[in-house]
């Protein structure tokens, strides 16, 4: 299970010298086994899966946590979609009113994008998921709705004993007193419980969060509290705010570390990072 982070920025791609270290591309992670590649989210990071990174396996599964633009904007530039030899399965959260096809087509259609979703050359299959379990390549996937505006799921990806949990946009602390510290009452608990690696939203400082409750994101503090309550082995803090420079992120993380109690090992997610979990 080889994990690679292709984009860990939140909200909007943010390039420039100030974001060189942690990266400017939005949400995209791959998990590979042999020549099979599972893609989590289609943010701008997905564009890098071309050239020498082009997935060679005939089938590719793309799992979308939700349809906010920072999680789908790269889809139109995902070269396998234009490859007639590829079979591509896109899995995304069901909504109570509109199909995944019609919601994705809002972006993948003129005037926002020149090619219609239905005209893409690959063999395309769409799957609507909610609190679901399914297989993609060698991986077993569990998806559950989690707290974030609009239909949003998180993913627990399992291969043998290795577990990677992906919750890039998540506000488990939404409420009067933050996260309720009982497992049954924690959004995303079942997805993260005991995971080897948890990638979790940590967009805001506590001060920023006080003005942005209900926006669907977390502080480093809440991400680490969530990781601690779910007993994960390691936390990757992601969905960096576009206004947070590399220097700011380091300062934010260091000041959190000074105040934090015992938490599982945590680090700021960095674009380009590769982790071998097997």
């Amino acid at each position: 299970m080889k994990i690679k982070l292709w984009g860990v920025r939140g909200s909007i791609a943010t390039t420039g010298p100030d974001t060189e270290i942690y990266g400017g591309n939005t949400s995209c992670v791959t998990i590979a086994h042999d020549d099979y590649v599972l893609v989590l989210d289609g943010g701008t990071g997905i564009r890098q899966l071309s050239g020498s990174n082009y997935p060679s396996h005939q089938r590719i599964d793309v799992l979308l946590t939700h349809l906010h633009l920072d999680h789908i904007q790269g889809l139109g530039f995902f070269s396998p979609l234009f490859d007639a030899t590829k079979e591509i399965h896109i899995w995304g959260p069901a909504s109570s009113s509109q199909s995944l096809f019609s919601r994705l087509s809002r972006y993948l259609s003129p005037p926002l994008f020149p090619v219609l979703l239905r005209d893409l050359p690959c063999k395309l299959f769409l799957h609507e998921i909610g609190n679901s379990q399914f297989e993609a390549g060698p991986f077993l996937i569990q998806s559950n709705y989690i707290i974030h505006p609009g239909p949003t799921v998180g993913f627990r990806v399992t291969y043998r004993n290795a577990v990677f949990t992906f919750l890039p946009d998540h506000e488990p602390a939404l409420g009067n007193n933050g996260i309720i510290k009982e497992s049954r009452w924690i959004s995303g608990y079942d997805l993260a419980e005991g995971a080897d690696i948890l990638l979790h939203d940590s967009q805001f400082t506590p001060e920023e969060y006080s003005h942005k409750r209900g926006w669907g994101h977390s502080t480093i503090n809440d991400a680490c509290l969530f990781g601690s309550l779910t007993a994960v082995q390691r936390i990757l803090l992601a969905h960096h705010d576009p206004s947070h420079t590399d220097t700011f992120l380091d300062e934010m993380f260091n000041s959190f570390k000074k105040s934090a109690g015992t938490i599982p090992p945590a680090s700021l997610a960095k674009e380009g990072t590769e982790i071998d979990l097997s």
Binding site: Y145, I146, L174, G175, R184, I186, S187, Y189
Partner: protein
């Protein structure tokens, strides 16, 4: 034990912010959460009782009509919501175990998930001022 669906969790988080008494049950009527204002109606504290089976919490107070006659369970909004998965509303009286009578208005609604699954019910108890 699996955690609750987020629709249930968000209902609890909302109830926790409100000053109206709110009761949340699972699909069988077991009380899985009640907020602080509901604690005064029930005469119990959630921190102390935790979740309560339907048989236990339904006997804490007696529902009565305006003439003091006991109401059938099927006439109660929450029981009806749990049966037909529709919202219901009714004004009636409740008598606590100590014999105190209170005129209340109860509104109940079903928690139906995004996928259309019935997950439980919420009942809002509103104490009415006597005329």
């Amino acid at each position: 034990m699996a955690s609750y669906e987020i629709e249930i969790i968000l209902n609890r988080q909302l109830a926790d912010c409100l000053s109206i008494p709110v009761f949340i049950t699972d699909t069988d009527g077991n009380l899985i959460f009640y907020n602080e204002p509901a604690e005064t109606v029930l005469g119990k504290r959630f921190e102390e009782t935790g979740e309560m089976p339907v048989a236990e919490w339904s006997t804490v107070f007696k529902p009565l009509d305006e003439h003091g006659k006991p109401l059938h369970p099927e006439e109660l909004p929450l029981v009806r919501t749990l049966t037909d998965e529709y919202p219901h509303h009714k004004k009636f009286y409740i008598e606590s175990l100590k014999g105190e009578r209170q005129h209340i208005s109860v509104t109940s609604y079903p928690i139906i998930s995004r996928t259309g699954k019935f997950l439980g019910a919420v009942a809002i108890f509103w104490k009415l001022k006597e005329k």
